[in-house]
């Protein structure tokens, strides 16, 4: 088991102005970064199978949003879901084991990178279908309301998902039923290769919220504090019965869409520009400059997270391979 310090919301103020919260958020940012760099490396060396979608460059979105959530709150995630999974508190070993096709993985090797769910931390699942998780989030939120619970559901999705019918249907349902759900769009400018400039006429995806009669807001998705601030407001509103919010986080993926991407649709200059807006570096600098963490503390934290990822790889590698013998009996939950 390899875990990091759980994220939490400071009682007041921004994340970077609270030492413990800043430290936890930095751990989350680094864990996502190092985990994904590690799997990228394993893949490149032929030690990992299949495909995956990396969120390197987008770590602040999951971190800022999940810092505003309780453990009992739920999320639905996407094909690019490692960041959400880690930020919500997943065990890095079980994630790594899943990617390495092991029996001890979150999905026992049946799902892989795109399908990790973690009941323990309220992660209702990553999803290989663009926008597939959005109606599910609305339904989980409906259940909270019907069960008289004050949990909130966050649905993560990309810019491409907002052109799907499922996005429209789910946001409308959430609106008319005043559901405790927050829709978080990670706008990384491209649905695979197709840019948002070509895929939609609206300037801001958050404008689409107006069509459903609830608030929409656009925020710098590479700034943990900014993401946390709008997420906290939206989560609080949802929890107190004020209904849904659409949050658009402007961000960028440094890596290609998946493993087949040759980056033919964007320029080196654009990628380099966004690397200067690296959310991990920005946050590190901010917390050091504000005096919340010393350079030494940042180094210690960095080492701690590196060790956690290394442990995850070690433990996962030693685990048994997933078992074909249980396939047929696993299609249905057994009755009774």
């Amino acid at each position: 088991m390899a875990t990091i310090t759980p994220l939490f919301a400071p009682e007041q103020g921004s994340i970077s102005s609270n030492k413990e919260a800043a430290s936890a958020s930095l751990e989350s940012l680094l864990a996502i970064r190092f985990f994904e760099e590690a799997v990228d490396g394993l893949f490149a060396r032929g030690l990992m199978h299949g495909t995956m979608h990396l969120s390197i460059g987008q770590e602040a979105v999951a971190t800022g949003v999940c810092a505003a959530l309780r453990k009992t709150d739920f999320i639905t995630s996407t094909h690019r879901g490692h960041s959400h999974c880690i930020a919500k508190g997943a065990d890095l070993t079980r994630m790594m084991a899943e990617l390495l096709a092991k029996q001890t993985g979150y999905c026992r090797g049946r799902g892989g990178s795109m399908h990790i769910a973690d009941v323990e931390t309220g992660n209702l699942g990553a999803n290989g279908i663009v926008a597939g998780g959005i109606p599910i989030a609305a339904g989980a939120a409906l259940a909270q309301k019907m069960q008289g619970k004050d949990n909130v559901v966050v649905s993560f999705f990309g810019d491409g998902a907002t052109n799907e019918g499922a996005f429209h249907e789910a946001l409308n349902l959430a609106a008319v039923w005043d559901l405790p759900v927050v829709f978080v769009c990670e706008n990384n400018k491209y649905g695979m290769s197709f840019s948002t400039a070509k895929s939609m006429k609206v300037e801001k995806i958050s404008e689409r919220a107006a069509a459903y009669g609830f608030p929409g807001v656009t925020v710098d998705g590479n700034d943990v504090d900014a993401v946390f601030e709008v997420a906290k407001e939206a989560v609080d509103r949802a929890r107190s019965g004020g209904g849904p919010t659409l949050i658009e986080c402007l961000t960028y993926r440094h890596k290609g869409h998946s493993k087949s991407d040759k980056n033919l649709y964007r320029t080196k200059e654009e990628i380099e520009f966004w690397k200067t807006k690296d959310p991990v570096g920005i946050f590190e600098t901010k917390v050091v400059e504000s005096g919340q963490l010393t350079t030494e503390e940042v180094e210690q934290l960095t080492q701690k997270v590196r060790d956690a990822v290394r442990l995850a790889i070690q433990e996962a590698t030693q685990a048994p391979d997933s078992d074909p013998g249980e396939l047929l009996s696993s299609v249905f939950r057994q009755v009774g």
């Binding site: 049946r110 109606p135 609305a138 339904g139 019907m146 499922a166 249907e169 939950r333």
Partner: protein, 329 residues
């Protein structure tokens, strides 16, 4: 004690009402199921009995509705989705096929989707090609979905209650021509097991296997055949997934003749699976004649009454088909 006779629609409503009384997590959602009482009158007065929260009218959003049911089912609710016509499940296929059917397996087994999706299926109402299809083999082809076609009021209630007990997604395709038909239905909450075919009539000359509205039509045919000295067994498959072949194989071993009757188009239809399974097992050696499939034509359901009747098996077709099978092909 006299047997209580109610309709198929009333039996479904009774099952839902009893389940909602017994279990707070059961709720209904769908289009026009509230004050309107459902397009086919199935939900009826449930809205007045249980209120708008638990008999939840929705916008016209099949994908959203099924997705919401999947999400609610993941976190402890037992939703019953009503899709107004089974044809409209096409709008919701992602949530049915890619989400509900796969979540338990694909996500490692901790989560499951105890959702019941009910939809009126079949032709015979003059509603033409987009409101009359028999799409059961779509669902039966997807691992992770259970598929149920109740053919009588008693089964409509018992299978629905069994579906609600099941921790997996169950697609219940009700036949719209059956809603107003009546039969004996016990008042208590009984379950008709999913995955058990039902021999509705014993017979020694030929075996008729049927689904949905074709079951009662085959029974009528069997009565006519009996008056002409031909004893047909009629087996209602009742649950397509999981499929119980035992009574079919046993009957074929006795009769040596097999006629498969379905309303859905023949090509790649469900009965092809039944034929293949008979052919894969020892029952094939009992066959004295080739297997006969009596199915819907491979055309969209047309509007005009004479055209609509022409494309699905009617009573006379079953009687003639059986007689021809008895004569030898």
């Amino acid at each position: 004690m006299s047997e209580r006779i109610i309709t198929y629609a009333e039996a479904i409503r009774e099952a839902i009402g009893q389940a909602m009384e017994a279990d707070e997590s059961v709720f209904m959602l769908g289009e026009d199921i509230g004050v309107y009482g459902g397009a086919f009158g199935v939900s009826g007065d449930l809205y007045h009995r249980f209120g708008e929260e638990r008999v939840r009218d929705t916008p016209i959003s099949e994908l959203g509705i099924v997705g919401a049911a999947v999400g609610a089912a993941l976190v402890g609710m037992k939703p019953i989705v009503e899709i107004q016509f089974s044809d409209f499940t096409a709008q919701a296929m992602d949530q049915i096929v890619n989400q509900a059917a796969k979540i338990h397996f694909m996500l490692g087994g901790e989560l499951s989707v105890p959702m019941v999706l009910r939809a009126p299926s079949g032709s015979g109402t003059g509603a033409a090609a987009q409101h009359s299809q028999s799409l059961e083999s779509w669902f039966a082809h997807v691992p992770g979905l259970k598929v149920v076609l109740p053919s009588s009021p008693a089964d409509a209630k018992g299978l629905l209650l069994a579906a609600l007990d099941d921790p997996n997604p169950v697609i219940v395709l009700e036949h719209k021509l059956l809603y107003k038909t009546s039969g004996h239905v016990p008042e208590e909450m009984y379950r008709t097991p999913i995955g058990v075919s039902n021999t509705v009539r014993e017979g020694s000359d030929l075996t008729i296997v049927a689904t949905g509205v074709m079951v009662s039509r085959s029974l009528e045919a069997a009565a006519q055949l009996a008056s002409q000295g031909i004893e047909a067994a009629v087996i209602d498959v009742r649950t397509l997934s999981p499929l119980d072949m035992d009574p079919i194989n046993a009957s074929v071993a006795k009769t040596g003749r097999l006629m498969l009757v379905q309303e859905a188009p023949k090509h790649v239809g469900f009965m092809a699976e039944v034929a293949a399974r008979v052919a894969e097992g020892p029952a094939i050696y009992s066959l004295t004649e080739p297997v006969t499939r009596l199915c819907g034509m491979d055309v969209p359901i047309p509007y005009a009454p004479q055209l609509e009747k022409a494309v699905v098996p009617q009573l006379d077709d079953i009687v003639e088909g059986a007689k021809s099978l008895m004569r030898g092909v």
